[in-house]
């Protein structure tokens, strides 16, 4: 035996194995453990699903009371036929896990502030943010409340059991691809995880205020209330509200009392002598355009004589998709639509009798309070003239390869204290900011959708949604019996004017919420004379509604305006007409803004190149189609104009502040008011007017456009560059450079990585005729051919006919490719 070479070769072997068994640092975080990842028997090769895979199988389990048959159609949409409801949700859980396990678990890691557990300390800021925001706290409140309802408790538990049955059936090599990439393993599912996921939706749809309230406070302290009312007005001239103008509202049940010292303690400029700016959270705020379109037309306007209902929720576009298409049939109901992997039931869809859809209400349901604590132990805070004891909540953040972090959060009457001395940045130092959010308050969460799945008529619809609290939604409704309706429902705060627009004093009860508006007073309308209902995140009512709805900048204006214009003019409508309408690329904002721009552009003062771009703008047909250069020119010019008008003031303030909205500038230009911001405060020799600003903006935009043209990026589709990102933002797992038009302010609200996440059209004929499509695929496995199957159709505006079949039909249909049977013996 030769000792030295033996030792050397032995060490080499051990060394090689160790290195290949380690996650090595790389540009974008860490590599997988290469030896494991590349192993054909254990690693990613196992996730390379054969393209001719059969999904048919028989599953025996004692978890079920009856038999469940699942027919999978050629698009891999499951049609679940169960003997009873609990079995159906068990199977829905099983299928969600089978096709979307990594995604559904990952989303709960985000919501629950647990990313550092899987990726290490890089994600500590995100985790601390979500923990301190009270995401876990809110989910726990909901769990407790839902557990008081035996039907819902059993539903959630049956769903969880189904998920776990799949997880437990997995051999180590069968875990989804991303677990192998990031090197961790699935854990057991619990009902709490469903509520954590729903908290994430609440966050996405209502928690922009966690950032914007700070920005608005900075702006108010810098500009003062008078200028604020010009920069962030409450009224929009071109508003076409969800509930038609002129509707008469009853006297309000709650009349909130404005605090006596509101001017000195809240609304004034630089109210606090020790005022410092608020900095923003470490986590990007939810997207401003998280919104949606929905509408329903009555049979009077359709060719079939029956209502048609349409919905397209606009959210971040991700792979795997947020949505999973499913049909659930049991003796109690027969329902089809889009479900959330992570939650039982159908969220947007239709059943034998009705159809429903949702858009975001956009109302402000999240506020900050500035508290005074006796000392940094956070034991006592000042409230109504006395020191009051705070409770404490511990949140333990586990960090891969490091010690646990413990967040000690004071719980007060104003909510969890999000910012304190242990969680601060240089500008919140010394401040104690509590966050007050309706998502913290126990709700019956998914029960509304559970009931909608079973609703037979208008009354059922109304009683299903009336318990819905957060995130507030506009629930649109249509029934076979010919009714249409829309209601804005959620737990909305009865606010005095400007309550919660800025950080509020947190020392006495007069600033607390004084009540939730009764559900019966929430804006709603049924079978209106105009024969349609619609919503697109605009303000729900005109200013005669007796409650304060908040500053206008939370409410997009133009999609709703355009939808109502089109629907007013349409008759003999068919589902095909509705498909075209969801893909409508007409920019009504540009229709209003272009003449204003052109009015101030002095062509004589432009170079030949600049003139060329202005002419492109003049000749543009106002459609944001992929080949239209005019759309790119318009967007660049308008952005430049906003920068020319407000950029100087905002740069000088050196604070994180919210940027005024597009409609604000346009409407002030149309009114010929609000030009005090036109002057560039950095030039002392002259006072710029709006004419000067338009010319400056035009020239700057043209320089930019020339550069874009050189790169071949002048066409709108190329300029906008729509993509659907993988949740980990890995380009190879995403779909990039998609050929699709549309954009902000447009019915087809497709932006760069944001837009219609599910398009649905339901005609309520005797045999329901429904069409849908979403930018994803039914399988979450990047190694499956069903991973991104629908994306090209989605981009092209093509739809799939939903196969809404009875069990006997499905059993015989040649559209059904596979059969999974679940039985207990």
């Amino acid at each position: 035996m030769r000792i030295v070479p033996l030792i050397i070769s032995g060490l080499c072997t051990v060394g090689l194995v160790s290195v290949l068994n380690m996650q090595l640092p790389s540009k974008s975080g860490k590599t997988p453990r290469l030896g494991y990842f590349l192993s054909p028997q254990q690693g990613f090769w196992q996730n390379a699903e054969p393209v001719n895979t059969s999904f048919s199988t028989d599953i025996k389990t004692t978890d079920l009371k009856g038999k469940v048959d699942v027919y999978m159609d050629d698009r891999l949409v499951p049609h679940i036929y169960a003997d009873n409801d609990l079995d159906a949700y068990y199977v829905q859980g099983y299928l969600h896990a089978k096709f979307r396990l990594w995604q559904m678990e990952f989303q709960t890691y985000v919501a629950g502030g647990r990313l550092s557990e899987i990726v290490g300390e890089d994600r500590v800021p995100t985790d601390r943010f979500f923990r301190r925001l009270g995401m876990v706290y809110g989910a726990e409140q909901t769990l407790e409340k839902m557990n008081q309802n035996p039907e819902m408790k059993a539903t959630m538990e049956s769903y969880a059991k189904g998920v776990n049955a799949y997880i437990n059936s997995l051999q180590p090599e069968q875990i989804p691809f991303e677990y192998k990439l990031l090197d961790y393993k699935p854990e057991a599912w619990t009902p709490l995880k469903t509520y954590l996921f729903l908290m994430l939706m609440s966050y996405d749809l209502t928690a922009r205020g966690a950032s914007t309230d700070l920005q608005m406070s900075n702006a108010k302290n810098y500009f003062g209330l008078d200028d604020m009312n010009k920069l962030f007005p409450i009224v929009q001239d071109s508003l076409d509200p969800i509930i038609p103008k002129g509707t008469v509202y009853a006297k309000p049940y709650i009349v909130p009392k404005t605090p006596a010292n509101v001017d000195s303690a809240y609304l004034g400029k630089n109210i606090s002598p020790k005022f410092t700016a608020y900095n923003l959270p470490d986590v990007a705020a939810p997207d401003k355009d998280n919104g949606s379109n929905n509408w329903a037309v009555s049979g009077k306007k359709t060719k079939s004589g029956r209502p048609i209902l349409c919905n397209d929720p606009h959210l971040g576009l991700n792979l795997p998709s947020l949505w999973y298409e499913v049909q659930i049939t049991t003796p109690t109901h027969n329902t089809y639509g889009a479900s959330f992997p992570g939650s039982p039931a159908v969220i947007i869809g239709f059943n034998d009798s009705i159809a429903w859809g949702v858009t975001n209400a956009g109302r402000d349901v999240i506020d900050y309070y500035d508290l005074t604590f006796k000392d940094s132990t956070l034991n006592e805070y000042w409230y109504n003239g006395a020191w009051v004891k705070a409770e404490h909540r511990k949140e333990v953040v586990k960090v891969k390869g490091k010690e646990d972090l413990v967040e000690n959060i004071a719980m007060t009457i104003f909510g969890p204290v999000m910012y304190d001395k242990a969680y601060s940045n240089e500008s919140t130092e010394g401040k104690y900011l509590a966050i007050h959010w309706t998502a913290h308050q126990a709700s019956t969460g998914v029960k509304a959708f559970y009931d909608l799945n079973r609703a037979k008529n208008y009354e059922d619809y109304l009683s299903a949604i009336n318990n819905w609290t957060c995130p507030g939604q506009n629930f649109v409704f249509a029934s076979k019996s010919g009714h249409i309706a829309i209601k804005q429902q959620g737990a909305f705060i009865a606010r005095w004017k400007h309550q919660g627009d800025y950080v509020m004093p947190g020392t006495d009860s007069s600033y607390l919420w004084q009540g939730i508006i009764p559900a019966s007073e929430n804006p709603m309308i049924k079978d209106p004379k105009r024969e349609f209902v619609s919503s697109a995140n605009q303000k729900s009512t005109d200013s005669t509604y007796p409650y304060y709805l908040g500053a206008a900048n939370s409410f997009p204006l133009y999609r709703g305006f355009m939808i109502n214009r089109l629907l007013t003019g349409m008759n003999d409508i068919t589902p095909e007409d509705m498909q075209k309408m969801q893909m409508n690329n007409y920019n009504v904002f540009a229709e209003m803004a272009r003449p204003v721009l052109l009015r101030y552009i002095d062509k004589k003062a432009l170079s030949e190149t600049e003139k060329k771009y202005v002419e492109i703008l003049e000749n543009w047909n106002l459609n944001a189609d992929i080949k239209e250069k005019g759309s790119t020119v318009f967007v660049c010019m308008w952005d430049s104009l906003q920068a020319a008008v407000y950029g100087d003031e905002f740069a000088k303030a050196k604070l994180p502040m919210l940027w005024p909205d597009q409609p604000t500038l346009l409407e002030s230009m149309l009114r010929g008011t609000g030009y005090e911001f036109a002057d560039n405060i950095n030039t002392t020799d002259k006072t710029e007017t709006i004419d000067d600003d338009v010319m400056i903006a035009c020239k700057r935009a043209c320089a930019h456009l020339a550069a874009l043209e050189k790169e071949g990026k002048l066409d709108w589709g190329v300029f906008k560059d729509t993509r659907v990102n993988h949740l980990l933002k890995i380009p190879a797992l995403s779909r990039l450079h998609l050929p699709i038009g549309g954009g902000s302010n447009i019915i087809n609200a497709t932006r760069d990585a944001h837009g219609p996440s599910w398009r649905m059209i339901v005609q309520l004929t005797d045999d329901i005729e429904a069409y849908c499509v979403y930018p994803g695929g039914q399988s979450g496995n990047p190694g499956s051919k069903y991973y991104d199957t629908f994306i090209d159709s989605w981009a092209a505006g093509k739809y799939y006919r939903a196969l809404f079949m009875k069990k006997e039909e499905a059993g015989k249909s040649d559209k059904m490719k596979w059969h999974i049977s679940f039985s207990n013996s």
């Binding site: 035996m1 070479p5 290469l34 590349l38 699903e49 190879a732 190694g783």
Partner: protein, 114 residues
């Protein structure tokens, strides 16, 4: 002859131990080492046998998966790693990784016997 049987045995035992997926991925280190102890060869020959056996096994297994999958996943992974999106390179790298480890284990086995 010796080298051929060593290669085949390395591949066969590497495959068998690989079926036990709750063992670590490097289970073949043990089998490759045992093969080279059992079929004794000079160190360089032992390395070649150990390398080839596992290289061929992993290339073959990866190739079969990849063909059935029509390169959907391998193309994506070959962009992530990064190998310019080439599934061919990815299969070679896959084989090379196991070959290297197995070869090293086989040399060790060869020295162990001497």
């Amino acid at each position: 002859m010796k080298i051929a049987s060593a290669i085949l045995l390395t591949a066969f035992l590497g495959f068998v131990i690989g079926l036990y997926t709750s063992l670590p991925w490097w289970g073949f280190v043990v089998t490759s080492l045992l093969v080279s102890v059992a079929i004794h060869q000079k160190p360089w020959k032992a390395f070649v046998s150990g390398f080839s056996g596992m290289f061929l096994l992993w290339v073959l297994l990866a190739f079969l998966k990849d063909v059935a999958n029509e390169h959907i996943l391998s193309t994506k992974v070959a962009e992530i790693l990064p190998l310019g999106g080439s599934y061919f390179l990815l299969i070679l790298v896959t084989g090379f990784v196991s070959g290297l480890v197995s070869g090293a284990a086989a040399i060790t086995g060869s020295f162990l016997r001497k």
